[in-house]
Symmetry: C2
Subunit: 240 residues, 2 copies
């Protein structure tokens, strides 16, 4: 069921939402869903020291294309902690086929990333008086990431309401994960039906050049298969 703005509960800013936006396919779809459901959207990107800076430019373009009110980028240097192939000096693994991707926690897992991102989104929502936060976590393709599971999200919503003035004052903050149970094909079909231009997005863990995908990292394999299964033309430029 789509989320709807909880204007009855939120007197100061009905239907205002913070939407976490990475520059990737999933979060672009989430922004399109939040817009469809009537939310005034404040896009928020986190500059956490990701390898590929153009991801943040993608996020800015997606925010504009999908009608976000504004787009803010907040820097937090998770590289200082190390520990992931997405931020540190560790090789990103590649595979030939999707079924070679394991279900254990992958090396691309950034420790507690979604916990940090959601905490920042809640801080921003609190300042805006926004009633809702949206995040593009997905429990299907990223089953190995602990902070993509529904149990994590619902526990986080609980703690967010204990942490904030809004929660104390009885205005409930909602954490929305509209694509959490969708396959990549369903995400792409949904976004395509809402006019998302996936050519603006990037997913590759190991791009040979900006807006050029390697075609072999786990993220590329899942993206390619998703477009095929969705029956949607794939606008991605793959190197191989």
């Amino acid at each position: 069921m789509p989320a709807t703005p909880n204007s009855a509960e939120t007197l100061d800013a009905p239907g205002r939402a913070v939407v976490l936006l990475s520059g990737g396919l999933d979060s672009a779809t989430v922004l399109a869903i939040a817009r469809r459901d009537g939310f005034a959207c404040h896009a928020l990107s986190i500059d956490y020291g990701q390898r590929h800076r153009f991801e943040l430019e993608c996020a800015a373009r997606v925010a504009r294309a999908l009608g976000a009110i504004d787009h803010k980028t907040v820097a937090v240097d998770l590289r200082a902690f190390g520990g992931s192939a997405l931020t540190a000096d560790i090789d990103v693994p590649t595979h030939e086929r999707v079924d070679e991707i394991g279900s254990t926690i992958p090396i691309t897992y950034v420790p507690a990333r979604n916990l940090v991102f959601l905490a920042l989104a809640v801080a921003y929502a609190e300042t805006l008086g926004a009633s809702d936060v949206f995040i593009g976590v997905n429990a299907v393709d990223y089953s190995g990431y602990p902070d993509c599971r529904p149990a994590f999200v619902s526990a986080f919503e609980n703690v967010a309401n204990l942490a904030t003035k809004a929660g104390v004052e009885g205005r409930r903050l909602h954490v929305n994960t509209p694509i959490i149970e969708m396959s990549k094909a369903e995400i792409i079909r949904t976004g395509a039906s809402l006019g998302v231009d996936y050519a603006l997005t990037t997913s590759c863990y190991n791009p040979p050049a900006p807006m050029l995908a390697c075609g072999h990292c786990d993220s590329c394999l899942l993206r390619r298969q998703g477009f095929e299964q969705a029956g949607v033309p794939d606008p991605t430029r793959y190197a191989g």
Copy 2:
């Protein structure tokens, strides 16, 4: 009861802890407690755009003085969100007496600050393989801050274990708040008995100069009264 290193549960790094350190009196005491209880302590300060940069220098000095293994400062610009007299361009309120301080949420409340700080501490703990996080939240003097309440802390510990590889793998992460129920006088007595040099710490919201306290902000009033009630000489230099 003091926390003890849970070495039985944590095979990779027994008794390793991340201790959030602000440069203030409370978190210095917490570091001393964590050291007393046998933890190898990694001090973590968050540069969130606080008004007074020398707070971070205080934190570095306190970390050294109390024998932390290392001290890391991670920047996250909460000023980007605005909304608090501690970060934004809003006047800090002052009072003449402690009993004038209200119990409503004060203007110095930084939205969801402890949620963000704890999320970062958990990310760091995850990378280190640390079993414990320490934070100097206090529910007595800061009753107006939603994210200083025991209910918040216990809900956060729950979400931290759902968010992390350690939690998934059954190595429980503990969030320790050893001073949460202490009065300021008890905190000071405890720290003094553990050799904390409070001259290295700063609490003032509105310091006329580095390491000079205004004497009139809520934080100064509580600090002064705490030393008086503890019967411990107050090494703070007050302007008035």
